[in-house]
Symmetry: C2
Subunit: 323 residues, 2 copies
C-alpha cells in the first residue's frame, strides 16, 4: 500500500487544516504520514491514529526559500522529503512555501538527469477538457532553453495524465504572431518551432475559452498571475451572476438555477482542483494552494494518491531522453 | 463640436468593420474623420457622408512598430495623429497595432513633460466598481522607475474617471508579501511604498474578485496576459454555464435565466468595454481591441467622445508635477 508524506506545517491555516484534511483523506482509505511539530499535530489529531515524524520548524511564505532550506534542517517540508527519499513514503504533499518545496526537493531528491530547472505544472479547466499550465509559479525568471525544457516536461505530463499522443503545445504571449513578445518569448518560439514537440505557436489568455492546446508554456511569474487571475475572474463572475440572478429572477427559480450552476462553480474553484506537479525531480511531489482548507487538502491528497497509483514518477523519468 | 480622428485601417477586420462602426457612431451624434485608403473607405461608406483623409498605408500587427512608423509616412495611424496634432480633431481612436499607435503618438504628439514611457491603461470590471489596469500591453519590459510612473499616471486616471481622491494602488505580484516577485517588483515595491501614492501593497490575480484596489500596476507583458486571461476565462465560464444550464435545467426556465445573466455577460465582454487610454502623450488617444467588430468600434467611439467631453487631456496633463 502506498503512503503520502504530508508537510503538516505548510499552508496559511497549517497545521490545523492540514491535519483535518489528512484525517478526511484517511477516512477515504488514503495512507498518510504527517511531518511537523509533533505536539501541535497531536492536539489536532484527537483520537485519530496517523503516524507523525517530528520536524517542528516552519518555513514561512515570506522567507527566502534557499536560505530557509539551508538553515531549517528540522523543517516540516524537509521531514516529508526525507521520508520520500528513504522510501518510507511514495509521494510528498505540501501547501507551504512553493519556493521552499522546490529548493528542498532539488536538495533532497535531486534533479532528473538533464533538467536545468525543475518546474511546477498545474492542471486547469478548459472548454472541452483539462489543460496544463507550466511553469505555474516556481521559476520567476528563466532563459529560453529553460522554457523549452518546461514545454518538454509539460508535453510528457499531458501524455501521461490525459493519455494522448503528441500533446499540442502553446507559448503564452502577448499576441499570436511569431514576432510578438519579449526577447524570452522570441527566442523560445524559435527553439520550440524547430523541436520535435507538437508546437502550435503563440497562444493568448483569451484562448482559455477554446481548446487550442493541451499545454500552456510560460515563465513562473506569468504562470502564477495567469493561474490566480483565472481563479479571481471565475469567482468575480460567479459573484456577479449570483447578484444578477437575485435581482432579475423570479425567486422560486433561484434554487434550481443555483443547482444547475454548481458543477461549473466547482470546476473553476481552486479548492476542488487543488494540486500541482513538481516536475524534474527524482520523486513525486505535489503542491497545493497556500489557502487550502481541510476539504482542499483532502482533495489534493486523493489527487496525489491517483498519481502514485498511475506510477507517475517511473513513467515520467524517461523525459530525460527528450531534453 | 468635438471630432474623433479614426484610424480606419487599424484592426483585424479593418477597414470594413471600422467604417461600419464609424457610421453607427455618427448615427448616435458623434463626429468622426476617417484616416485611411480613401477609395477603399468610400466603397464601404455607401451614401454616408463622413470626411476622409487619404493615408492608404497599413501597419500590420506583425511589423516592428518603430520601423513601420519610420517607413510608412502615409500610414492611417499617422494620418489620424496628424489631424489631432493640427487640432482638426480632438482625439484619435485606433484598433490597429498597439505598438505603432504608441510610437506614432510619441513621435507626432510628444510626451508629457517628465514621462519616461507613455503607457496604456484599461478600465476593467471588478466586484463593486470598475478598476484600472496599467500597463495593459504597451511596454513589455520596464524598469522600476517606469513602473512607478505607470502607478502615478494610473492614479491620476482613476481620480479623473471615477471622481475619487487618493485611489488605492496595488502592484501585481506572485504573492502579497513585500519580498515576493522578480527584481522588478521588489524594487518597485520600495519606490511605491515611500511615495505619496496611496499604495496598499502587492495584489494577486485572485484580488479581481474583491475591491481591494482601484489601480492594478504591472508591466505591459503581464498586463496584456492578465487582460486577455480575464476575457478568456469569463467567456470559458459563460460557455460552461450555458452547457450546464441546458443539461440540468427545466427547459422553459432557460429563457428567463439567460435574460438574468445577460448584464453580467455584457460586463465582461470585451466588445462592450472596448477602449483603453494611452497615457503620457500630449493628446487624447484611445486604443481598441484588434478584434473589434462594428458594434465594438461604435462603443469605443462613444467612450472616446465622453473622454473628450470630460476635457480629459487638459486635466490629465498636471500629472507632470507628480512624476
Amino acid at each position: 500500500m502506498s503512503t503520502i508524506a504530508v508537510d503538516a506545517m505548510g499552508g496559511d491555516s497549517a497545521p490545523e487544516e492540514v491535519v483535518k484534511g489528512a484525517i478526511l483523506a484517511k477516512q477515504e482509505g488514503i495512507d498518510v504520514i504527517l511531518s511537523g511539530d509533533k505536539n501541535l499535530i497531536l492536539s489536532y489529531l484527537g483520537d485519530e491514529k496517523i503516524p507523525i515524524v517530528d520536524y517542528p520548524q516552519v518555513i514561512s511564505m515570506d522567507e527566502d526559500p534557499a536560505k530557509a532550506i539551508r538553515t531549517h534542517k528540522n523543517s516540516s517540508i524537509l521531514g516529508a522529503l526525507t521520508l520520500l527519499k528513504e522510501k518510507k513514503a511514495d509521494a510528498v504533499f505540501s501547501a507551504g512555501s512553493t519556493g521552499a518545496t522546490l529548493i528542498g526537493s532539488i536538495s533532497v531528491l535531486g534533479k532528473i538527469k538533464g533538467v536545468i530547472r525543475p518546474t511546477i505544472a498545474s492542471v486547469i479547466p478548459s472548454s472541452e477538457k483539462e489543460v496544463i499550465l507550466v511553469d505555474s509559479g516556481a521559476n520567476l525568471e528563466v532563459k529560453p532553453k529553460i522554457l523549452y525544457q518546461f514545454a518538454v516536461m509539460g508535453s510528457k505530463l499531458a501524455e501521461l495524465l490525459f493519455d494522448i499522443k503528441n500533446p499540442k503545445i502553446g507559448l503564452i504571449n502577448n499576441g499570436e504572431e511569431s514576432t510578438k513578445g519579449r526577447d524570452l518569448e522570441k527566442s523560445t518560439y524559435k527553439l520550440l518551432n524547430t523541436s520535435d514537440l507538437n508546437f502550435v505557436g503563440n497562444v493568448e489568455g483569451k484562448d482559455f475559452a477554446n481548446s487550442k492546446v493541451d499545454v500552456y508554456v510560460t515563465d513562473g511569474f506569468t504562470g502564477n498571475i495567469v493561474l490566480k487571475t483565472l481563479q479571481g475572474v471565475a469567482k468575480l463572475q460567479m459573484n456577479l451572476i449570483a447578484e444578477s440572478l437575485k435581482k432579475n429572477l423570479f425567486k422560486p427559480l433561484l434554487k434550481p438555477v443555483k443547482n444547475a450552476l454548481s458543477p461549473v462553480k466547482k470546476l473553476l474553484n481552486p479548492n476542488s482542483t487543488n494540486g500541482s506537479y513538481l516536475l524534474g525531480v527524482n520523486g513525486l511531489v505535489i503542491i497545493g494552494h497556500g489557502s487550502s482548507n481541510a476539504e482542499a487538502i483532502k482533495n489534493a491528497l486523493i489527487f496525489t494518491n491517483k498519481a502514485i497509483e498511475k506510477k507517475f514518477i517511473s513513467n515520467f523519468s524517461d523525459v530525460s531522453n527528450e531534453l
